[in-house]
Amino acid sequence: MGLGSYISTVFSSVKSLLSGMKLTGYYFTHHKEIVTQQYPENKREGALILPERFRGEVTMPHDENNEHRCTGCQSCELSCPNGSIKIITKQEVQPDGKKKKAIDTWVYHLDMCTFCNLCIEACPTQAIVMGQEFEHSVFDKKKLKKILNKPDSKLKAGVE
């Protein structure tokens, strides 16, 4: 190796090192570039915006009359890949005297759910949707077993 190339190697190496330092130095002096979000402060300040499609947990919306849209068809239970859903049905007597299948309890095991969205896709009546709640940690695992239909709730009229 000639002396010239030896010296030029030294200089080009130093230059490459300095250009890296220039970049880190730039970010050191430009605090506007900081991308960190402060959790949970950003939640309070309203800076934490979750997209509407975000899959947090399976929920069953009820309207103001405490009515839901679930007919108890169990499509969701069948489509769930890991058995997170258990639907217990009962026979309800209609006003006209006919018997009809209805849900008794809609059991949702949040601890097993993988948020795959397959149950929502499978539901023919759009009775369940994905909620935005994502802070699911609890100290007692039992709390993750949820009953989605509210007490005394009824099937919305006209939903088949």
């Binding site: 190496s13 490459s16 090192l17 890296g20 970049l23 991308v35 979750l50 997209p51 489509s79 499978a122």
Partner: protein, 376 residues
Amino acid sequence: MIEHNLLEPDMITEDGDFVINIGPQHPSTHGVLHLKVWLDGETVKKVEPHLGYIHRSIEKMCESLSYRQYIFSTSRMDYLSAHINNQACALAVEMGLGVEVPDRAKVIRTILAELTRLASHALWWGCMGLDLGAVTPFFYAFREREFINDIMEETCGARLTQNFIVPGGLMADIHPNFVPKTKELIKMFRANIDEYNQLLTGNVIFQQRTQNVGFLSKEAAISYGTSGPVARASGVSCDVRKHYPYDAYDRVQFKEILGTTGDSWERYVIRIDEMRESLSIIEQLIDNIPEGDIVAKTKQVIKLPKGEFYSRVETARGELGVLLVSDGGSTPYRVKFRSPNFSNLSALGHIAKGSKIGDLVAMMATLDLVIPDVDR
């Protein structure tokens, strides 16, 4: 009483080799990989990967799931290219059903796949720096990756394990913000690749660390069954997107980047260039998303005809093959995944022989291993 068992047989072999176990809990194995390494001083004499620490028997599990359901579990194999895994599974089912996926779904799938590849490569770049002792790249890489994850979250609903693909198309249409945000990403990512080069690629220490180590010859690359950037760095043309185009890859122009030397540096450069190619693929497609349906009509309970169906895709790490054996029922009779990481890992022992222990870590980084994909 002072006891030293440094000379006990398990520490030092009869040949005087120093045996150390890297992993299953080790900062640079990126998961629960266990490498048994025979050392002569600092020089690696032999590497023996031990697998099975994160085996979840996904293949067996898939046999009990329906064709709609089994797609979701593959997100957990190579979790960095979850979307591409799902795509492979859906392609196999579609092949069996013989349905034609609508154009719109094809294009969106392809864009999402390329976004996944970008996110995966960005994370790899960060980890590459981390494995070589530079912590800062990791955070720069995460900035871009978070942006991609946000796009994914908006459209698919999940950041990592999207499960956005159903047999025949997509679960939902794209979010209205998808197109403008992706365009923003393209601009931002281009600029940031230059930053990557400034910080790491051009750095003389980095170049010295990666150049001329970890040679994988073309023959060895083929015989070990490597694929993806690892094989392409050795000059093996193996891009599934090019050779067996699926979804919308036949309507875009892109280069398959091939290396010549097959050393660690080449594997690094190929991935950096691949990021640019991915950006150009997205750029070509993003303005030309055709109108139309997003999913082809399929029965609620899918039954495949009797037979074997094999689909292959290019994940961020190489070729993923899905073999479905159907006996005509509603669940697969047998599922087999040909995962890229498993074959790529097998080359590690070959390329690491004779290198220094620090380079072993660098080579593992250039192989870009995701351990859950090795074990499945």
